[in-house]
Amino acid sequence: MAGGAGWETVIGLETHVQLRTISKMFCGCSAAFGAAPNTHVCPVCLGLPGALPAPNGEALKHAVRAALALGCTVHARSVFARKNYFYPDLPKGYQISQFEQPLATKGSLTFLAPDRGLVTATIVRLHVEEDAGKSLHDRFPKATAVDLNRAGVPLIEIVTGPDFRSPQEARAYLQTLKQVLEYIGVSDCDMEKGSLRVDANVSVRRAGETALGVKTEVKNINSFAYVEKALGVERDRQIAVLEGGGAVTQQTMLYDHKDNAVRPQRSKEESHDYRYFPEPDLPPLLLSPEFVAEQQNLLPELPASKRERFVAQYGLPQQDAAVLTAGRAVADYYEGVVHAGAEAKAAANWVMGEVLADAKDHAEALRVPAGSLAQLIGLVKGGTLSHQAGKRVFAELANRGGDPRTIAEALGVIQVADSNVVSGWVTEVLGAHATEVGRYKSGETKLMAFFVGQVMKASKGKADPKLAQKVLEERLAS
């Protein structure tokens, strides 16, 4: 591992995830991303004098589902709290969050670590809060502009234990977390749009030590790729400090992706005493067991169990099952293809191949209906179409739609299985390649593939390759 032998890295993550709701956490304003600045605002999210928060039930349902999906205990009573600090994009001068009594605690998430196999990270707590607005420092010269569209958008904060042993593990956890949250439909977890944001606590210690080293907090990590980079840089920095005989100072480090470096946040900005206290504008959040059970019932099958089921039910290799269940839309699509009659492994190959390649070029759209793909797979399997011809038909289906057989006929790629016709092409090929015929007869049997290829070429791909080989073998044996 990079970063010095004999050192162990310890990482814990605090992840903020925007919940995908129509409206904000405590008012009716739209929570949509990307509108013109300060257009999704009202007295509540502007923090106007006298305005009060009214909780969004939909956001609470999302948060409870996320907590349940992460195996947390959802508390019957949780308490909103004010986190007080001054910043121009924080309209009320405090953020409504939860502190002493969070929504949920004690969950876990199992992910595949690159070096350690399956690792279970502890979810220490999950709480609900509201987002702040955005300060735009580069929009106007020598002035900071504030956009409050984001102020009040619902968030959950998910805090893990110090459970990761490398930046790669931290990234793998985050990707698994993103997968779960996308699956249950509570967030789109788009780091570039800021709907998933992560802060990391990083420390290092000599291998074999059990006490934790002094940690720093790394912030401003804006993409999955930067997670690994930022944490790697900070780990290396700490190791260098310790190996140089120095000590790590507990502080906040900001990652700058432009030069792949971390720098301490100015201490003035971080010396916060947030003065948390229970939010007097909101009664304690009381959740009945029935409500929690209802949210549990609404949870879809989660990625890990879907993957196992795909292996068991469809006889797929682990790797295939992992690829197919990476996203819920693809998994559902695959099952649609199988349910429409396609053979499971063939369907898996088509979805992982043609379908995902096409989706990648078309904004993740699954353009060929599952039923059409199942028919196409049937045509290839039954020998009506060669695999190559099948791909051409798929492209037509994707671009123009229609019925697979009709398209195949129109393209003239239906395989010819009439031995008389195939015999004609074989005669043509053998006549044109007398030398190769001689070599074959003197024992160079691997030339069969060459002859089949030539027959396919002569037939413009229409010949049934199996039949062609059979006829070739008969003729070359005589």
């Binding site: 006298g50 007080n84 405090y94 948390y276």
Partner: protein, 456 residues
């Protein structure tokens, strides 16, 4: 109805010397005229002018909270209580002077100058809803809205000789009331009579989805005036009649008690043993919440912003330093301190524990068969302007009999019970949560028999 709008404005203009109204005369006349044209003739308060404390958001007038930091601030929305008043046909008769952000007991802490007591301009009308109380007492309006955090409706009502009601916490929506101590704040009503105050309270009460702390209940139903007080058990908490109570105030309250007995009420002494801790408890919790509630006044989005500020911290420091008066700054400092790491447990958490004990005192009294408590509203009559300005603690102690109802979230009403050297004395009923109707019945009965303007 434009004639009524004009006479309402005339009455308000006539008492301009009290400095109780912050709205400029011209603006007031114009608005009242427009409102009269638009008011709903079917409303139960049709044509009734109601003056509004300046910490309640209105579309018609600026909302300054008596502070420079909101100088000229015009709210783009109005408080739920205002919407309900207008729907009932009332006219919003201007904004009344108050202690800055409702922090004070004399209306001397207003950035717009102190208000005068209508009977003696050298005295204060009480506070923080002093402007509202003074206007009602001077006969300029039949009723006004005030707000309470620790007695800010009842104390000025008592000083000015009018009726002031603080409803149960959660009875009236706080949406649009500029927050001071959110867990204590309620909008209250002041009126010439129990009936005037009660009908305004009834209109503004009831559920509001915009305020999560407002109970999902129908508006308060007004009781009828009872024939007698037969069947009422009234408790006199001994902690509210201390040996050093102003003897004249005691006399006035004793007379009220005697009159209630004559009407058939059973009277018994009770004890609320944690009363002595109420003021210190209040002065931890209210400033703590205020320090957070007032953080939004930073000059970034509204209100005056300090010129020539350097960085953003300098902007905050200057805007807030220049915009807030000394009492508000004092409470923000206290509140910030009691919530700080290392002090939270010693102050804020302990205060919350004490608050629970104070509320339990009341429940114990009510559980023992007492329907209502009766106490003096304030330890003294209206004091002289300037008398307590230099000594914040003596100012705070004028709330000693009123803060408990806010800490316990209970309804309370101050009713004039007599005069001492020409100055009004108020008697207070404290009722059970959401039993305002019972409390109002007792107040009606007392009001009917007590010689409110006679020396006790």
């Amino acid at each position: 109805m434009t004639g009524e709008a004009k006479s309402a404005a005339d009455r308000l203009v006539k008492v301009k010397r009290l400095n109780a109204l912050l709205t400029p005369v011209k603006e007031l006349r114009k608005s009242l005229n427009e409102q009269a044209g638009a008011a709903r003739p079917t409303g139960v308060l049709y044509g009734m002018p109601v003056a509004v404390k300046d910490n309640i958001c209105t579309l018609e007038f600026t909302t300054t909270c008596g502070s420079k930091i909101l100088d000229g601030y015009r709210s783009p929305y109005e408080a739920t209580a205002i919407t309900k008043l207008k729907a009932a046909g009332a006219l919003i008769a201007g904004k009344t002077n108050c202690d800055e952000f409702a922090m004070g007991s004399s209306t001397e802490h207003s950035a717009y100058g102190r208000s005068m007591h209508p009977l003696d301009k050298t005295r204060v009308p009480g506070g923080s809803s002093g402007g509202s109380a003074a206007l009602v007492a001077a006969g300029a309006v039949p009723a006004a809205l005030g707000s309470e955090t620790g007695g800010s409706v009842r104390q000025p009502a008592s000083f000015c000789g009018v009726v002031g009601i603080k409803p149960t916490y959660g009875r009236v929506s706080r949406y649009g009331l500029v927050a001071f101590g959110s867990s204590l704040d309620q909008i209250g009503a002041l009126g010439r009579s129990v009936h005037d105050a009660a009908r305004v309270l009834s209109v503004i009460s009831g559920r509001d989805p915009k305020d999560a702390t407002c109970e999902d209940r129908d508006p308060l139903r007004l009781p009828t005036v009872p024939e007698s007080l037969q069947g009422f058990v009234i408790g006199l908490p001994r902690e509210y009649f201390p040996s050093d109570l102003d003897p004249a105030v005691r006399r006035a309250c004793d007379r009220a008690v005697r009159l209630m007995k004559e009407q058939g009420a059973a009277v018994r002494e009770v004890s609320l043993p944690h009363t002595q801790y109420a003021v210190p408890t209040y002065y931890v919790i209210a400033p703590a919440e205020a320090s957070s509630n007032l953080a939004r006044f930073d000059g970034v989005r509204y209100g005056p912003r300090a010129e020539e500020a350097g960085d953003v911290r300098d902007l905050y420091r200057r805007t807030r330093g220049e915009g807030f008066g000394p009492e508000v700054r004092r409470r923000i400092l206290v509140g910030t301190y009691v919530l700080s790491a290392g002090y939270y447990d010693a102050y804020y958490r302990r205060a919350q524990q004490m608050r629970a004990l104070i509320a339990q005192d009341f429940r114990n009294a009510f559980d023992r068969g007492v329907d209502l408590l009766f106490t003096p509203t304030t330890p003294t009559t209206a004091f002289k302007a300037g008398e307590k300005l230099a000594d914040p603690v003596s100012m705070y102690l004028s709330d000693v009999f009123t803060v408990t109802a806010n800490l316990a979230g209970l309804p309370a009403i101050s009713v004039p019970v007599g005069r001492v050297k020409g100055l009004p004395v108020g008697g207070q009923f404290i009722g059970q949560a959401f039993l305002e109707d019972e409390m109002l019945e007792a107040a009606y009965a007392l009001e009917r028999v007590v010689p409110a303007t006679e020396e006790a």
